[in-house]
Symmetry: C3
Subunit: 324 residues, 3 copies
Amino acid sequence: LKLQQLCDLLNLQYDSKKDIDITGLNTLQDASNTEVSFLQNKKYLSELKSTHAAAVFVTKENSALVPEGSIALISDNPYVSLAYASKVFAPLVIEEDGEEAIVKENTIIQENVYLGKNTKIGKNSILMSGTYIGDNVTIGDNCIVYPNVSVYRDCQIGNDTILHSGVIIGADGFGFATDEKGKHIKIYQNGNVLIGNSVEIGANTTIDRAAFASTIIEDMVRIDNLVQIAHNCKIEYGSVITAQCGVAGSTTMGKYCVVGAQTGIAGHIEIAPFSTIYAKSGVSKSIKHPNKHWAGFPLNEHKVWLKLQAKIQKLCFPEKLLKG
Amino acid sequence: LKLQQLCDLLNLQYDSKKDIDITGLNTLQDASNTEVSFLQNKKYLSELKSTHAAAVFVTKENSALVPEGSIALISDNPYVSLAYASKVFAPLVIEEDGEEAIVKENTIIQENVYLGKNTKIGKNSILMSGTYIGDNVTIGDNCIVYPNVSVYRDCQIGNDTILHSGVIIGADGFGFATDEKGKHIKIYQNGNVLIGNSVEIGANTTIDRAAFASTIIEDMVRIDNLVQIAHNCKIEYGSVITAQCGVAGSTTMGKYCVVGAQTGIAGHIEIAPFSTIYAKSGVSKSIKHPNKHWAGFPLNEHKVWLKLQAKIQKLCFPEKLLKG
Amino acid sequence: LKLQQLCDLLNLQYDSKKDIDITGLNTLQDASNTEVSFLQNKKYLSELKSTHAAAVFVTKENSALVPEGSIALISDNPYVSLAYASKVFAPLVIEEDGEEAIVKENTIIQENVYLGKNTKIGKNSILMSGTYIGDNVTIGDNCIVYPNVSVYRDCQIGNDTILHSGVIIGADGFGFATDEKGKHIKIYQNGNVLIGNSVEIGANTTIDRAAFASTIIEDMVRIDNLVQIAHNCKIEYGSVITAQCGVAGSTTMGKYCVVGAQTGIAGHIEIAPFSTIYAKSGVSKSIKHPNKHWAGFPLNEHKVWLKLQAKIQKLCFPEKLLKG
């Protein structure tokens, strides 16, 4: 798609004489010189100045900050423009053309399994009844995909990986822009999910596809049941996430973290490797020091949280101290 | 069904000489003059006095309060009587008769999709593999129903709506009466779910059918993954509910609310429009003032919650203040 | 399998002259004299001394404590040895041989239902479209299994029980041992799930199979949507668990407990019968006294929790008291 065409579709003015082919959308930081990006939140101004994007949706106010080599696409609401543009680049829900799926030797495909176009399944794997594998998906060798799993299009799964029943890989991340009339405009989630080798994912867990690029689950990760991993998260090698935890969008969890059940982790933060987070915690800021234990909401070091709870009891019920 | 017959089935005495056709059950407030209602909790006494129900299950003690024009059906345990009556009015799990589903032009139905009787699917929609659409369901135009979705019988879904994989629409609300022997008697959930236009519902989210009447999700609502919406809730226009939230039964959320992840909202309350509720909150009472920000459990205004957390830290660790 | 062979497979030294047939693995407490057990955590030393296991994986340090009649299998990391042994005893993911499923009279099996080998379905039941029933499963009479349910192999379900859509029964418990190189080694979950009579389980709830023996849901239990019950739990007669609760592994909940939504309950504890636990609580220790009400995290008696919250407000905002 030519940038000129995109602007026409979005009713944006296009003054540049350059005739650029645009391949998609991306963040300011990650956009290549064939991708369009956007500035919505001022906290990303420094990223605007160093972006390599071909063009950037910006307000008039910020347009002067778009670096040389990148084109400012002036929009009253850049996030709304991004949302409309995301639809332009969205792939089909179901591919109309493509090769029939390839399934390697010794792999068992039970009845009522759907295999999309251009999909490849490795050897010695098992895909059980009721499972949906979308278009352009790759699944490795020695995998077990239990019944009633859904893997949306374009996702990739390594070798020796187990997906339990009801797992949903690659559903749309939760993204939309709200226009001045209060209409929520979907940001099409044109990325995918990459799952490594020797990963196990528990029943009814959901891992959303990225808005751009990939949500990543690295090798050796263990995820329990009913966990939510939002779009563009990265869960690094060997981390362990127990039941009913949620990780909001674009958060990176370092290697060998252990997260207790029902914990919530905010978006756009980083968890240092080897962090242990106790059950029911709420993590709202990055954890910078590796190898520590954390608990509570607001989060404290675990030993501090224990003291805090004891002190609260003492302050509120001093008479208990006398009684023993 | 005649009221006399219903009483015979439930072993309740029927003294009236009126011969009334009963069409179903409902709350005191909403029951019509062909419906039977019940009084279990004294806090609904005022609703008893103004009910238009044809008849009401009540204890002998409260029977004198049943208004003229309504018949008191005296029961030792009105809620247990309601539960037994709900079974009488329950529709079949699977319809035996009815028309084959109607699917309009340009709609794609993938393989292994079940379409119930008397069901209608609009045009330009996509129903993906493994999806179950029960009897008497209506789905509008331009909808996408991703793989392995379940829509129970009698539910209605508008136009331009997206249901992600694993979504369950219209499973039974969590309702039962416990008799004097400790037996839980199911209250059949004879209502349905109504979902509006331009709604998007995330993977593995569950929205229960109403006990009576409808659970309602209005137009333009956005619901993330693994959310629970209980029976008889109403989520109004444009509200946004993020991952792993739960809303208990009969709660109304006003328009354009935003609810952070892992929040729990109690049943039988009202949330004022334009409320913003931060992640991991617990909302146990109605929010009466619109357009405010809330956080914590117990709930406080967000700015108060921030102060509260800071003060707790100061009270418990005064020595930290000295250290800086 | 001979014990000698097992040791050869695990590269463990085997000095005994006894030639024992081993049928599986189990805990120190429950192992029979044809089962192998393990000691990982010193808090189970007393159970080691009284075990009836045929043999026990232990460190050299603890090997002298293995009781007479039981053989010490010395391992640098007994839990890792257990993990490797669990794979030896794991049944096939899909049985290759066996009888076709038996379905009794008046039971409706909709299209796209998978029935495993040696599986038995009682009379007057309904199994709806997209449901997977694995090998060697038993389902009783008068059951309703809604669409897109998954029941893994070897699980048993009683009479008059309802499983709502998306329920996953018998997925693997979350178990692995981590070796000295940081590799997580799966502990195959060779047990099953036993569900009693007159149970109802809500949409997208997950109940994991036991590592050894059974996860047990007794008669008359009611479980709401999106609940997680981990491996080896026992939920006793008539208990009620509302939406989005989680119960960690090996916990026993006594009869007629009521658990409010989004509560988390730790593993390896016991909840006294007739306990009521309010929503969003965190239960980290056993509840020993029956018939009490509890709330909060950390948990307090409900009335204490209410006071605590009021006192915290007073301590932090004393000026409010003056204002009224």
